[in-house]
Amino acid sequence: MRKFKRMAKKFVADFVVVDNKPLNATNFLIKARSNSVLPTILPGQFVNVEINDAKEIFLRRPFSVFEVDYNQNTISMIVKILGRGSKKLTEIEAGCNISLVYPLGKSFTYPAATDKVLLIGGGSGVAPMLFLAKESGLDKTQVDILLGARTKEDHIDVESYSKYANLHYATEDGSLGEKGFVTQHSVFVNDLNKYDKIYACGPDGMMRAIAKVAKAADVFCEVSLENLMACGFGVCLCCIEPTNKGNLCVCTDGPVFNINELKW
């Protein structure tokens, strides 16, 4: 047998699903354990997941890392049901194998020790924001998290994160927190300049809206982009985003971009 000499920056491996629990009607928390020691994985990075036993699903699906436990060797992600692949993934049972390519992409720039930061998450974009809140090393007083969703039911319960950050909610129907989009929320509208850094992850429209205001206010702002990916590790050039440096790959040059790089 030929020895597999790992170059050890990225990996493909089977994990064992140790937990898969619904967070609400459409979001699931999936935790999977590796047999090997995990490399460092940072907020904003993602994994590319093979969907088992699914007819007509050919490629992997990318999901942001939500939590890493280096003692247990587990990676967790929040999976929202969008189409066939994510649906199938949420049906996986504890004990099953799941193949991940990891760790992929660039992380958010860590805040400085004295920074005051605003983290904005929309939809499944909450995952990296919560991860970042936990890992930032900042005091709770320095961290505001603003989460947007359509209704109260679409929000997932993140109360346990109130020890890392001050939580704010926006819902389109006003059923939780302030009514409206995140960009209409008071912490965003009134206090933008009190933040040293803004980080955001969510649907394209939300990212653009945030970027527009942040740019005008000249605040440091990083957004994480979603995009159709074939490989996830920089070889197919399918996942491009036009930037000042030309078309960059969301999977390797991103998914996190400083808004000043983007042609928005």
């Binding site: 047998m1 030929r2 597999f4 920056k9 990225k10 490989c231 197919c236 050039l237 996942c239 985003e241």
Partner: protein, 303 residues
């Protein structure tokens, strides 16, 4: 021990498992996953004379057992490659073949001349079959005169191994293969992607910015295999085969059909370590079937 070594013209491959152009970047990206010295070689991402931004997003669509891409040869141009990438990869202990693309014959010639200077690039793959560019590309590869012309002109300025990559979007691929053989090609590689299309029934729009794109993956394997077999029976030069190879059995089928070397393309998107696994499984197969040398598999289809 089995012998995996195989030659394509002057190029020695330590084993017949290589990575296809456009799906293994510039080899560096794969080195994040495995030691590049393990595989037979890398067919590097398609290069052009000048920087190309490629096509607009969206560039890909998943299809049954395959995918469409419309990348459009995004790359920073050959000079960037020579200055910034080549130095980093040139000492990989494996074959590095560069995939060259032009809009005009002059482009091809200029590119080839530059590549000729690179010591560690001992062969080029002349891409006359890219379906995702407006000019050049597949236009050359779908007619005998076009394919002949590019091959002849490039041959004049290049004396290392010249592999011409053929388009499957033709009535008779063996005719094109014979045509380029006649103009001095040292080998042919096939297949490039099939021109395909995907529509979103809900939005009623094409899924790709370019409407049509190139189909790859296991879906095309039966057609690619047939073409490799036809071409291998039509020419005397070696054939490099690809199209939907997902495992060692697929690779062996291409060799039985006549391919000396195979390229793993889209499959690495699913598993970047797959080429390594395929080499291991190929060895197992050869031991199990008492095949001493891979050369004893090439073209050995029993009919």
């Amino acid at each position: 021990m089995v012998d995996l070594k195989v030659k394509v013209h002057n190029l020695e491959f330590k084993n017949p498992i290589t990575l296809a152009s456009g799906t293994c970047g510039f080899a560096r990206e794969m080195a994040d996953f495995f030691d590049p010295a393990i595989v037979g070689g890398f067919f590097l991402k398609g290069s052009t004379l000048k920087n190309r931004d490629g096509n607009e997003y969206p560039r890909m669509a998943e299809t049954p057992s395959g995918m469409l891409n419309a990348v459009g040869l995004q790359n920073k141009g050959i000079d960037y490659f020579i200055e910034n990438i080549y130095p980093e990869i040139k000492d990989y202990d494996t074959q590095l073949i560069i995939n060259v693309n032009g809009s005009t014959v002059e482009d091809y010639i200029a590119l080839t001349e530059k590549v000729n200077e690179l010591d560690k690039i001992r062969g080029i793959e002349l891409n006359i079959s890219c379906p995702n560019v407006k000019e050049g590309g597949m236009a050359f590869g779908v007619s005998c005169p076009g394919a002949e012309m590019v091959t002849r002109e490039v041959r004049k300025v290049y004396d290392k191994t010249l592999i011409v990559k053929l388009s499957p979007n033709v009535t008779d691929i063996s005719e094109i293969a014979r045509a380029v053989e006649g103009q001095g090609a040292d080998a042919v590689s096939l297949v490039n992607t099939f021109l395909g299309m995907a529509i979103d029934a809900e939005t009623r729009k094409p899924k790709l910015s370019t409407i049509t794109g190139g189909l790859s993956g296991p879906a095309i394997k039966p057609i690619a295999l047939r073409m490799v077999w036809q071409v291998a029976n039509a020419v005397k030069i070696p054939v490099v085969g690809m199209g939907g190879i997902m495992n060692a059995a697929d690779a062996i089928e291409f060799m039985l059909a006549g391919a000396s070397v195979v390229q793993i393309g889209t499959a690495v998107f699913k598993d970047p370590t797959l080429p390594v696994q395929i080499i291991n499984e190929l060895e197992d197969y050869m031991l199990r079937h008492k095949v001493q040398s891979v050369n004893d598999l090439i073209g050995e289809l029993q009919i």
